[in-house]
């Protein structure tokens, strides 16, 4: 078989006219070789081809068109998912025990990540929000095609809600300390895992603009001004989603 292949490769650049006698000689060669060996080679080739097609189809199906909704528990992800009209939204659970598992599963097919923050309870939950955001940012930076990030400050209809600017400042401050403490934590059990990525620039205070990803902030309210029945105040969100898509 090897001789046939090499000859094929060697003369492959020949013009079409020389093909015909070539094919005849090829057919002659094939008839001469051992039929079982030939069938084995053909079978292996068919299997490899199937595998390649399979992987291709698989990757095609889970192409990067999903928008993930992440955030702590009770931040309003599911309501946003319900009110948001665009397809390809994926609502991930916020509970601590589930969030990392689901993030693992869906992060490769994510084109954008919407991190939902409860603006009213933000002051209390700053540390938890920052910790989860840190985790999501680290994971996203490790991906091949980094998704775009949007931090949606939800529940703006409540009077005590903080503005997006304030939330951004507080998160930057919190992430500044968090990146130091996280990288100083003892290494995990199998120390062959990757070295933790450093967020932002080392010497300077952390800012979202230092990240290689695009991070934007905006305000929204999934419930809307008039309670459940009112239309959700999510025009900004939808505009951003349309921009991304």
């Amino acid at each position: 078989m090897a001789s046939v292949d090499s000859r094929r490769v060697g003369d492959g650049s020949g013009a079409g006219g020389t093909f015909q006698p070539y094919l005849d000689s090829l057919r002659h060669e094939l008839q001469q070789t051992d039929p079982t060996l030939l069938s084995v080679v053909v079978a292996v080739f068919a299997v490899l081809l199937t595998l390649v097609f399979w992987k291709f189809i698989r990757s095609r199906r889970s192409s990067q068109r999903a928008v993930l909704l992440v955030g702590l528990c009770d931040s309003g992800k599911t309501l946003l998912f319900v009110r948001g009209n665009s397809l390809n939204l994926i609502d991930l659970p916020g509970h601590e025990s589930l969030r990392l598992q689901f993030l693992e599963r869906f992060k490769s097919s994510a084109r954008a990540v919407v991190f939902v923050v409860d603006s009213a309870a933000f002051q209390r939950e700053v540390k938890d929000v920052a910790e989860f955001l840190y985790q999501v940012l680290i994971d996203s930076m490790g991906l091949k095609n980094t998704p775009s990030f949007l931090i949606a400050c939800n529940k703006q209809d409540i009077a005590m809600a903080k503005s997006a600017k304030l939330i951004q400042q507080q998160l930057e401050k919190e992430l500044n300390t968090l990146r130091v403490t996280r990288s100083a934590a003892p290494s995990t059990l199998d120390s062959s895992s990757t070295v933790p990525v450093q967020l932002g620039k080392k010497g300077k205070e952390f800012e979202f603009s230092q990240l290689p990803l695009k991070v934007e902030f905006l305000e929204c309210s999934a419930k809307g001004g008039r309670g459940d029945a009112g239309s959700a105040d999510i025009q900004d969100l939808e505009k951003w989603l349309a921009k991304i898509a």
């Binding site: 319900v82 601590e96 025990s97 598992q101 300390t177 403490t181 934590a185 003892p186 995990t188 199998d190």
Partner: protein, 638 residues
Amino acid sequence: MLDFFTIFSKGGLVLWCFQGVSDSCTGPVNALIRSVLLQERGGNNSFTHEALTLKYKLDNQFELVFVVGFQKILTLTYVDKLIDDVHRLFRDKYRTEIQQHSALSLLNGTFDFQNDFLRLLREAEESSKIRAPTTMKKFEDSDKAKKPVRSMIETRGEKPKEKAKNSKKKGAKKEGSDGPLATSKAVPAEKSGLPAGPENGVELSKEELIRRKREEFIQKHGRGTEKSSKSAKSDAPKEKGKKAPRVWELGGCANKEVLDYSAPTANGTPEAALSEDINLIRGTGPRGQLQDLDCSSSDDEGAAPNSTKPSATKGTLGGMFGMLKGLVGSKSLRREDMESVLDKMRDHLIAKNVAADIAVQLCESVANKLEGKVMGTFSTVTSTVKQALQESLVQILQPQRRVDMLRDIMDAQRRQRPYVVTFCGVNGVGKSTNLAKISFWLLENGFSVLIAACDTFRAGAVEQLRTHTRRLSALHPPENHGGRTMVQLFEKGYGKDAAGIAMEAIAFARNQGFDVVLVDTAGRMQDNAPLMTALAKLITVNTPDLVLFVGEALVGNEAVDQLVKFNRALADHSMAQTPRLIDGIVLTKFDTIDDKVGAAISMTYITSKPIVFVGTGQTYCDLRSLNAKAVVAALMKA
């Protein structure tokens, strides 16, 4: 009488809700989800939250959850049946909407279930009223009144037989009165198997009655013990002829035949049996060679790949066949299918040092989660169950907010008070060693540490800590840190009160500006009540920021007992509304177990608190944090 009934999808969309009272049902339902479903405690189907009892049912095929809530003090017997009926009706009525598994269809569908639900509720309430407990039988109606007096006269020789008869009759009567009280809950099969004698109304002759009652009695007591059935069988023919004294199996007797448990069937060849035993004892094969270990291949198809390539091809081929199978008809998992796999998984977990009852509860919860689920086309029962178990194990190992000690210390620094950590645990688990390791880690990160020697009992405890302090001081001398002493030992010798020393240590740290105080306590067994009280007092009085329970990875079923009793002691002796319980776990001696890492699961399952540190040796650098995926991989590895 129900407080609420709600149907929601596993993704959190409420499909339908019935509220009997004006209180919102979201609070209790959220608590149910958080404490039961997400923590894999879904083995039994009821949950108590404040004043309500919640009963729930999972529909794994369509990913729905049915929850009903009612007041704890009421005992409503029709609730289980009601849930089942509602489940069935809802599923049949809205099959098309919920079949598509997509959220859009769930949202767009309207679930106008109110009338059906009220009808079912009314039916259930009425049926429970019918089956209210009956009044007691009057004496005239009972069997004893019907029996002639002559049969009840006792004579000396027949006393034991009479006693047996009466007790059997009592047992049978209890059976009879249990019948009308049978509720919607399934009555255990054994009881229903026995015929309700006195209810029959057929006039049996006296001897037949006696014989039947005796057999029932034997049957009832003879099920558990094998020897009783043997002696019962030998008794029954004897009783038929003469009135020999009754042999009580459970009471012990001096009868030689009954006490002789040697095999009755092998009557000719005791020597042959003996030679066989010797062979077994010697453990050699017929030719005198050692028999090889035969590693029977486990019957999980395709679940032990040697390399990825063959498994991939096998997976693809299996996938293609599975696709064909999927075209034929999808299979939904039933409990019987999962039984054998779950048993194997349970034994595997126990072999990996997970505590026995936790393994049982885990498998129950996984079975509950998978029952009725439609399997994907490319999966077998074994792989589905394994996958589900793996996910739930990872879930258990990441219970709550990670304890980020450095972050919290920085907070405490800002507030100008020291961050106090207390180490507690039983004897010999490695509290002092791991305390030294953690101080080393903190010193490396630039925090100053005060070590409080509150182990005033064990000989050499203070000296041990002094040696550690000296070493750490040598590694981080004050010159390197601007003249500030980075590590110091606070001790008051032996025999003093530990809580008092801890309080003085914290005050000293505040005055001197130390960042962290690490309090070392004496090891104590969880059953030792006075010592547990002392520990609880130390923690209540000093309110440390972090209470770490130190447990060794070698522990097996003991872990459950230790943690439960420690937590209980801390809760009982605390005066506060929300008592300080164990906040985190330090798992030590991890290098001594290869992959029998089950102790990690047991401990986090019991407390729902995270494992903060893992100790993997005795030098200062042997401190790690937990990697949930690696631990679960080691656990599931065959």
